[in-house]
């Protein structure tokens, strides 16, 4: 087995007396797509925030390719190759789609500090940005302000931003949230494409079971901030404990999570 690209060790965060993520230890490997499931309030998004740096852990460590990144800022973690997309649409609303993507490409290229040459002089940035525009089928709206896009396209742009960062670790937080079923496949295709590249590690928070079934190599179940189960999709999906969590009969929160 390959060495893990991302490892969490006893990752914990407390808000006052509430333990939102409780001592989660987990290793994620390249070429593997892990779906994180769990009822609302289980700590999935918080877990993501701890990995990508929007929150800093109370205790425990995060390692990327063996380097500790626990205390780093989100931008520094992005430079270590940890990229994430957000659950709520989180774009640069007044900038065009192309500008949005180019910003992500540029962050990756490290050209952000160049101030004496016009953007148009950086051909490779635009070329790459256009590549991701095409990959996400957003070319036709390239010059529209992000805020004016329909919701589905905004979700795609969210994914495009992540792809343009070219991270090693991709983290998707409910990429199809709020999308009707007819539009979701576009985004799922994109994730499948990323998954096809065996050097990439993908983490995905997702509720829709058909998505989980189609994409997951592995499922981990979070419940009340704790790692409840971890393993092969078929095994997990048929396991008693997961059913109990989802149907609200397990100890702790009940929750039909698909709602």
């Amino acid at each position: 087995m390959t060495s893990p690209s991302l490892v969490t060790e006893d990752l914990t965060i407390r808000f006052g007396g509430h333990v939102a993520v409780n001592s989660v230890s987990c290793a994620f490997h390249p070429g593997e797509l892990t779906v994180i499931v769990g009822p609302n309030g289980a700590g999935k998004t918080t877990f993501f925030n701890l990995i990508s740096g929007q929150l800093t852990a109370t205790s425990g460590r995060v390692l990327k390719d063996g380097t500790e990144i626990t205390g780093l800022s989100p931008s520094a973690r992005a430079h270590h190759g940890v990229g994430r997309a957000f659950q709520l649409t989180n774009l640069f609303p007044q900038l065009t789609v192309l500008e949005n993507i180019r910003l992500a490409v540029q962050a990756r290229s490290g050209h952000g500090w160049r101030m004496f040459r016009p953007v148009s002089g950086f051909r490779e940035l635009t070329r790459k940005a256009e590549h991701y525009l095409e990959a996400t089928r957003l070319s036709t709206v390239a010059h529209q302000a992000a805020a004016t896009l329909p919701h589905g396209d905004q979700r795609k742009l969210e994914v495009a931003l992540l792809m343009a960062m070219e991270p090693d670790v991709y983290m998707f937080d409910e990429p199809t949230a709020g999308m009707s079923l007819d539009h979701a496949p576009d985004v799922l295709d994109l994730i499948a494409q990323i998954k096809a590249d065996t050097s990439k590690t993908v983490l995905l928070v997702e509720h829709k079971m058909e998505v989980v079934r189609a994409l997951a190599d592995r499922i981990i179940v979070l419940h009340n901030g704790e790692l409840l189960a971890d393993g092969d999709p078929t095994e997990i999906m048929s396991s008693r404990i997961v059913r109990d969590v989802y149907l609200g009969t397990a100890q702790g929160t009940g929750g039909e999570d698909a709602a």
Partner: protein
């Protein structure tokens, strides 16, 4: 809302041609307007275009509200003034003064930036206001160095003396071109014009560069900019320093031109108000807005006041109105116009005209 797209609408073309026209007028100002006062106005316009544009880098492009911009302008002006006074006229004090002004500005900008750019915008505005007023008080108290309230009078480099002849004819008299004497005054004006032009073009470069796009990204969505890998605090501090540096250089140039530096010309809060008015009236986040705002307000400052004076005299006898129309009260009207503008045209003149149809 500040527009980011400057695609070629009619409005954009109009604004750009107006700016080009202003540039041409400023370039030929000494030949077009041959009285002393007009040249004074033209030079002031050049300096303020730079000053306002550098403020726009903060407020319009990055969304940072600072009230310390005159402080940096003052550092540059006092740097040159103090050295010109101590060392006598020459280029060395000007250069050293510029460097010293920039150095002090950078120290302050870094300190303020690191201390308070992490906190809310409103906090930053309050802190810069406090810092600027402390510097203003210090400048008037340290009178041995700064000349206190009276300021400093000094000589500029010899080249800029009115008596200097740039070109002489056979009789040793100064050559006239279209009836304009090619003397030191002319050289001084072109020194102002060219340095301002260079600084302005440099800023145009900055905003069109990858760096400029990062600033806009931070203005739009700070958290996401951080998440895709930009160190927001570093960029904010950097643009604050950059803007401070340019303001400081503009201050040095102005000090050389005026041959006088005092709290009223280089540090006072009313200059800060002028800058704010200019950037808002012209239009934030466009650079062109800085040009239009600076030109309009300075023209108003110089010429509208005469008009008001006449109106005030005409209304003698009517209660209060003459008082409100007195030339010194012109800020009253400007303040009202400013408020109305922020309500109804928050993008200012340039922003409003350049906004294309939505989603175009």
């Amino acid at each position: 809302m500040i527009t980011s797209d400057t695609r070629h609408t009619t409005g954009t073309l109009v604004i750009k041609s107006v700016v080009a026209l202003i540039a041409a007028l400023l370039l030929f100002a000494p030949f077009l307007f041959q009285d002393v006062r007009s040249l004074e106005v033209a030079a002031r316009i050049c300096i303020f275009i730079v000053l306002v544009a550098s403020f726009d880098l903060l407020i319009g492009y990055t969304g940072i509200v600072s009230f310390a911009h005159t402080m940096f302008f003052g550092f540059g002006a006092y740097g040159a003034a103090i050295l010109l006074k101590q060392m006598g006229p020459g280029w060395t004090p000007v250069l050293l003064g510029a460097l010293a002004g920039v150095a002090v500005s950078l120290v302050f900008a870094v300190a303020i930036g690191l201390l308070s750019l992490r906190v809310k915008a409103i906090f930053f505005a309050m802190i810069t206001l406090a810092a600027a007023s402390v510097v203003l008080v210090l400048a008037s108290q340290l009178s041995q160095i700064t000349g206190g309230e009276d300021g400093i009078i000094y000589k500029s480099p010899d080249l800029f003396k009115t008596a200097t002849k740039l070109l002489t004819d056979a009789d040793g008299k100064v050559v006239r071109l279209w009836d304009v004497k090619l003397n030191g005054k002319l050289a001084a004006y072109y020194f102002v014009f060219i340095t301002s032009l260079i600084l302005f073009l440099a800023m145009l470069r900055f905003v069109g560069s990858p760096f400029g796009t990062v600033l806009k990204a931070i203005r739009e969505n700070e958290a996401r900019a951080e998440a895709i890998g930009y160190r927001v605090v570093a960029y904010r501090t950097a643009v604050f320093c950059l803007s401070a540096t340019i303001a400081s250089l503009a201050g040095t140039v102005y000090a050389v031109w005026l041959k006088y530096t005092g709290p009223d010309t280089a540090l006072s809060f009313s200059i800060m108000i002028d800058i704010l008015l200019m950037v808002v009236i012209g239009g934030m986040g466009t650079m062109w807005g800085a040009v239009i705002g600076a030109v309009l307000l300075i023209l108003a400052q110089y010429y509208l006041r005469d008009l008001m004076g006449a109106a005030s005299e005409a209304l003698t006898g009517v209660p209060l109105l003459p008082e409100l129309l007195a030339p010194d009260r012109w800020l009253f009207w400007l303040g009202i116009i400013f408020i109305l503008l922020v309500y109804f045209f928050p993008r200012g003149i340039a922003g409003t005209m350049m906004t294309g149809r939505k989603g175009a």
